[in-house]
Amino acid sequence: MTAARATSARRGSRPPFEQVVEEHGPTVMRVCRAILDPVDAEDAWIDTFVSAMRAYPELQPDSNVRGWLVTIAHNRAVDVLRAARRRPVPTERVPDQHLTTPQVTDGADGRDELRAALDALAPKQRTAVVYRHLGDLPYPEIAQAMGTSEAAARRNVSDGIARLRTRLRKDRP
């Protein structure tokens, strides 16, 4: 801790981490909720801030904190989802039902349908849509986080949104 403190003093000041949680907590939750049910989303939210807090003293003071948190949250949420898929499907479930059908529903705010629709996107499109529309990241940052060109980032977002729109229409009873 002493070393971290000395480094931090050399590099200049960082806002108290409480301020980071206050400012970006809702954005991180939107990202987690786009991918996970409400219970898993809360766990992923906590994991995100714990891992960010661990690394925080080493973060460059001029870093883009929101972009950093959004990518941590997205990766964490995707890991949780993968782990959930490896768990056996409960037997009372209809066998051909989609594996990620939420067990905890969020009521009639359209989030369940939206999450299922997002989940059906190609991973690149989903990631790009989550970064853009839930994490509110600009295209250059999405490109950087995903290791693609800015043009590809734009295409992934617009293709993803188009597919979402189609799917949400189709799912309408």
Binding site: V21, L114, I161
Partner: protein, 204 residues
């Protein structure tokens, strides 16, 4: 709601404002951060008869007591700079300190029994603070006496400066040090508060 999904652009739906996060989520996060040894500075604010106070502690002990007129945001930012940026609002670690500070101000606690972390004071200032902890409730002494007791009789001004920069006022009783001419002297919480505390202690 399904109608909404039909015509509304999904992007608009995705952008929708989220509900405020439940406070239980913050509490669970703080507990995890503390368990994992990441909570370098915990702080809270309490309401007392002299107004709101900010209390902050490291894992080793109480670091800071601040008065409202210092500006709590500025104090928390200063802790992030000088101790660690891993700072969270975490009242649990301050429970004992909050109880004792409140009790002191209400006249039911005469001596504090709390682990202190003096890392915000260095060198001679720290020596002065160590000495101040030995001045009993209800007693006062001069800056001259304090300088001598801390080991540098000629450093009266430095002793006065150590008092006015005391990071843990109330608990480390810098208010018990007054000018040799009997006048009250400066205080982080304002001269009026210093007088109030001394009157409270002498009435007990």
């Amino acid at each position: 709601m399904t109608e909404r999904l039909d015509d509304v652009d999904p992007a608009v739906l995705l952008d929708g404002a989220s509900a405020p996060l439940p406070s239980s989520l913050h509490e669970r996060f703080v507990a995890r951060a503390d368990d994992e040894g990441l909570l370098d500075v915990a702080y809270t604010t309490i309401d007392t008869r002299i107004g709101p106070l900010l209390l902050a502690a490291s894992p080793r002990g109480l670091l800071r007591v601040a008065f409202a007129l210092e500006g709590f945001d500025a104090v928390v930012a200063e802790l992030a700079d000088s101790v660690s940026p891993r700072v969270l609002r975490a009242p649990g670690r301050l429970d004992a300190a909050a109880r004792q500070v409140d009790g002191y101000l209400d006249g039911t606690v005469a001596a504090f029994d709390l682990p202190l972390d003096l890392q915000l004071a260095r060198g001679f200032r720290r020596d002065v603070l160590q000495h101040l902890r030995t001045i009993p409730y209800g007693r006062t002494e001069s800056y001259t006496v304090a300088a001598r007791a801390a080991g540098r009789p000629a450093a009266v001004r430095a002793a006065a400066s150590a008092c006015s920069h005391n990071p843990i006022p109330l608990v480390i009783p810098c208010h018990r040090v007054v000018r040799s001419d009997g006048s009250i002297g400066a205080y982080r919480g304002g001269a009026a508060l210093k007088r109030d505390l001394l009157e409270m202690e002498s009435a007990a």
